[in-house]
């Protein structure tokens, strides 16, 4: 097991390093330090001030190759900082990035965590329900609705949801955020509903397939022959045996709880990590962007390893070699 862990961690490290390398080249292929300075200071900033900014922020160093002092390059600094978790300050506004992460994590989690739990519960119950009624009109209606739900863009859900629930029915505020728990749910009602609905179609299709496959297996027939009730078969036997594909889908989704949702946060004015990433993209803020990408990659790799370990917990036959 230990050897397996080490091997997986090594693969993971290679992946993360690759992501960092790719990010560096993609970013500087697309933009230059002058551009970053102009975004940070404004379009009318005179060239002298732009130069001062570049020097103050260390972007005057050669990017990749510095024969005089090979360690004094942008790329060396990039890896040095990321690998030592020294996130530094934002290029856009000089705030410590760690503070920004701390500020943004709570709003992001208040959106994603309830959405994740409720989404999982609803998707699994609905799919158990349609799997149980397979080949009836309920199942077929479910297929139509799910495919319909999957085909619609999230942007339409957002604008449509705001228009319907906020503007026409006037049930909830169209956008906004307030950390006070008394009113929080009012602001998050539409994003939660939209997140739930937009994800439901795909999830239900996936879980239904898994459940239908499991219900066709011998052990289900045996259980039924022994007089086990339908409800018990579905929740006790089928659900448990379907845990491996469920886990694969669920654990991999966990890192995204922290990175937040780019579109939902932008449209609903939620000051979370997703909107920090969007700001960093718009503002050519390399320092913030790389931290968000780095953390995302790191969590993703860790989640993959965690998934493997979770397999052994739900299925004793699985061994990590």
């Amino acid at each position: 097991v230990l050897a397996y862990l080490v091997r997986r961690l090594a693969y993971g490290a290679v992946t993360v390093l690759g992501v960092l390398l790719l990010l560096f080249f993609l970013f500087f292929l697309y933009t230059t330090p002058e551009d970053m300075a102009r975004r940070a200071l404004g379009d009318k900033t005179p060239p002298e001030v732009i130069q001062t900014w570049i020097v103050n922020h260390g972007y005057d160093r050669p990017r990749v190759w510095n024969p005089a002092d090979p360690g004094r390059t942008l790329i060396a600094d990039h890896f040095r900082r990321m690998l030592s978790f020294d996130f530094g300050r934002s290029d856009a506004d000089d705030s410590p990035i760690l503070d920004r992460l701390r500020e943004g994590a709570i709003p992001s989690l208040t959106v994603t965590l309830p959405l994740f739990v409720a989404g999982l519960a609803v998707a699994i119950s609905v799919s158990l329900f349609v799997a149980y009624f397979r080949e009836t009109y309920i199942d077929r209606a479910g297929v139509v609705l799910c495919v319909l739900g999957m085909s619609v863009s999230i942007l339409l859900y957002i604008i449509g949801g705001q228009f319907l629930l906020g503007r026409l029915l006037r049930w909830f505020p169209i956008s906004g955020f307030d950390p006070s728990p008394v009113v929080l749910a009012r602001f998050l009602a539409i994003p939660w509903l939209i997140g739930l609905l937009s994800g439901l179609g795909g999830d239900v299709r996936f879980y239904r397939t898994v459940f239908v496959e499991e219900t066709g297996r011998d052990y289900v027939r045996t259980a039924r022959a022994k007089g086990c009730g339908d409800g018990r078969i579905m929740t006790r036997h089928v659900l448990r045996n379907a845990m491996i594909p469920i886990l694969t889908r669920v654990v991999v989704a966990i890192p995204f709880l922290f990175t937040g949702s780019l579109l939902l946060e932008s449209f609903f004015g939620i000051p979370g990590l997703g909107s920090i990433t969007v700001d960093a993209l718009h503002g050519n803020d390399f320092a913030t962007l790389r931290v968000m990408v780095f953390i995302g990659a790191l969590l993703f790799v860790l989640a993959q390893i965690a998934t493997d370990f979770a397999y052994t917990l739900v299925d004793p036959r699985v061994r990590l070699e």
């Binding site: 103050n56 604008i159 503007r167 029915l169 009113v183 749910a185 009012r186 939620i270």
Partner: protein, 651 residues
């Protein structure tokens, strides 16, 4: 069943109140104004912030020495913290001095920073040394102020960098007493006074800069402004919500009896202000401010923001492209919107958008002599900026006849530039005269090939450039669009490798100098990296500019401007396109809002009628409950028979 469902819906809607109101607290007892800001704020450091949305906060929190008259156009400077607008005093060697006298007894807003250095203190008086401190901060390279080059005209400003180490000041900034400050300019620059109406030069207490260093849990100064303005920060989360509240320490609030010009509602304005309701006798002469609070929300997306405005949760809004035709019809408010009691206010920004020619270009520029000039004149006649603004801006642009936009001294509404009235026949004649009959270059026998250099690689940018290329195609010219990103474009401009380009300029201050310098020879982009990207150099124009720039707004200045205008008209280094116009919508409960193209602190003049707002909001936002019943009913109707049937079959 109905009652249970009703209770469920009520519980769902009742999560902390009812309906779609995004503001949890009551706001009908207080005067609160609600505004949306389009993105997170980066810095509230007055020496650094150069963005309109940030000035929205800094201009209200920091008090400047001078201000603008709220209503008068052309814009007029009035004293704010200063007792009067200073006059220039000539010194030997062409130097000029201005002496500011500060209002004694003006205090900063309360802040713990003062107590850190003087136990028990919560505020202190604004003194002249604070203004000197602000100017030093602009000079300090570590602060990276974007306006440092402007203040380089102050004597000893550029040397401050080195003096900094030896703790010397700027030699051209002299503190003569607690309330007296003199600045010395190495050369005349009367426009410097406008910079004293902007937050850059607002007095800043050194205590706040020293205390808010981001250490040991303290804020950074850029997130914690401490000023002497009419409002102070009540709540600051730069990514979500900002709240300004009245500053009881503001000199206008503490001393209404002073009747300071920037602390009472003005009694006069420009013609038409009375009719527009800007001179309501209920407000004239009353001490400012009228609002108790200004609440800002960060809204990144236009559509939700506009929908919230329509619900009455924002007091004012711009018009989003998607809804333009539903809101505005034929330049006025559509009947549906007018029925809601809204007002549409149009204002022309002090800006100019133009097509420029690189005057160093051998085909288009001065090296081509008379031929080049005729070619530029012909191309100018082919461009229809009315059509352009109709297609791309929903008509929100005033066709430009010269560099100067309305509201700026020297703008004359009746002036018509003969080369800016589209006339293809005349353009073809001029082209023939230039030696390019039907746009054909006799040297090659093919249409004359020119390059439109575009610093915008987006499809929208290309489309706009295509509009002009097509206009010139009608003359037979072959204009190729060469689109690159902005950096490469700037590099081309620096090297002088550009031919035709599009550019815009928004004034920093309302003076013709801030526009005419865009064509002043020494400001040439390729030679001195100045903003004269057309590299226009006309000796007569340059001489006139030097005389014009330091003059007060008198008849002679107008005469000079007219002559410069005539030179530009004839020489055509530019094809003036339009002055951008902004349309703003205001709800019926807003009072005293007059849009200004410049970002000036308007919060202290505005007022709201909270009772009217409450009534209209309630009328517009009654929740519609029946669909909740309908959805619940539908679920029951769909699912229950299925279950029943299935169970029956299984039996």
């Amino acid at each position: 069943l109905n009652r249970v469902l009703g209770a469920l819906v009520a519980a769902l809607l009742g999560l902390g109140g009812c309906g779609n109101n995004p503001y949890p607290g009551a706001d009908d007892a207080e005067k609160v104004r609600y505004k949306a800001l389009p993105g997170a704020l980066k810095t509230l450091d007055p020496a650094v912030s150069y963005v309109t949305t940030e000035h929205e906060i800094t201009a209200n929190v920091y008090e400047t020495l001078l201000g603008y008259h709220y209503l008068k156009r052309p814009y007029e400077l009035i004293p704010a913290l200063a007792l009067e607008v200073p006059r220039p005093r000539d010194l030997p060697g062409g130097r000029v001095a201005y002496r500011f006298r500060l209002r004694p007894g003006a205090l900063y807003g309360e802040d713990p920073a003062f107590g850190h250095f003087e136990p028990g203190a919560t505020t202190r008086e604004v003194v002249a040394a604070d203004v000197a401190f602000s100017l030093q901060r602009i000079a300090d390279p570590a602060v990276t102020s974007p306006v440092s080059t402007t203040f380089a005209k102050l004597e000893g400003f550029s040397e401050f960098d080195e003096q900094y180490a030896s703790a010397g000041g700027i030699s051209g900034v002299r503190v003569l007493g607690p309330h007296e400050l003199e600045i010395v300019l190495a050369e005349p620059y009367p426009q410097i006074l406008y910079w004293f109406a902007m937050p850059f030069t607002a007095p800043v207490p050194w205590e706040a800069v020293a205390f808010y260093d981001g250490q040991e849990g303290r804020d950074f100064f850029k997130d914690h402004p401490v000023g002497a303005g009419p409002f102070r920060i009540g709540y600051y989360d730069r990514r979500s919500r900002i709240s300004l509240e009245r500053n009881p320490n503001w000199y206008g609030a503490r001393h209404p009896e002073w009747k300071a010009p920037a602390a009472v509602y003005p009694a006069e304005g420009e013609p038409g202000d009375a009719a527009a309701g800007h001179l309501d006798p209920a407000y004239v002469g009353r001490p400012l401010p009228f609002l108790d609070r200004v609440e800002y929300r960060i809204e990144k997306e236009d559509i939700p923001t506009f929908n919230k405005f329509l619900q009455g949760y924002y007091d004012a809004a711009g018009i989003i492209q998607e809804s333009f035709d539903a809101i505005v019809s034929e330049g006025a408010l559509s009947p549906a919107m007018a029925a809601l009691g809204m007002k549409l206010e149009k204002s022309v920004e002090p800006s100019i958008y133009y097509l420029g020619f690189n005057m160093n270009d051998p085909t288009l520029g001065s090296p081509a002599g008379e031929r080049g000039r005729l070619l530029r004149q012909a191309m100018s006649l082919a461009v229809d900026s009315v059509e352009f603004s109709r297609v791309f801006l929903n008509g929100r642009g005033v066709p430009a006849q010269s560099l100067l936009p309305p509201g700026i001294f020297g703008y004359e509404a009746e002036y018509r530039n003969p080369f800016r009235q589209p006339d293809l026949a005349r353009a073809r004649n001029l082209l023939r005269e230039a030696g390019y009959p039907d746009g054909v270059d006799p040297k090659t026998g093919r249409p004359l090939r020119l390059s439109f250099d575009l610093g915008d690689a987006s499809s929208g940018g290309r489309l706009r450039a295509l509009f002009f290329a097509n206009a010139w195609k009608r003359l037979g010219l072959d204009v190729e669009i060469s689109a690159t990103d902005f950096n490469q474009f700037q590099d081309k401009v620096r090297r002088g490798a550009h031919q035709i380009y599009i550019w815009g300029w928004i004034a920093d201050y309302p003076d013709p100098e801030n526009f005419l310098f865009l064509l002043w020879g020494p400001m040439s982009g390729s030679k001195s990296r100045g903003p004269n990207n057309a590299n226009f150099a006309d000796p007569r124009f340059d001489t006139l500019f030097l005389e014009m720039k330091d003059r007060p707004n008198d008849a002679r200045r107008l005469e000079l401007i007219r002559e410069m205008r005539a030179i530009v008209e004839h020489e055509r280094p530019w094809i003036e396109l339009f002055h951008r116009e902004s349309y703003a919508l205001y709800h019926a409960w807003m009072r005293n809002v007059k849009p200004a193209g410049l970002s000036l602190p308007s919060a202290k003049y505005a007022d709201v009628d909270p009772a009217l707002r409450k009534r209209l909001r309630e009328e517009w936002n009654r929740p519609v409950v029946w669909p909740a019943y309908a959805i619940a009913g539908l679920v029951v109707v769909l699912v229950v028979p299925g279950i029943v049937t299935f169970l029956r079959e299984r039996q």
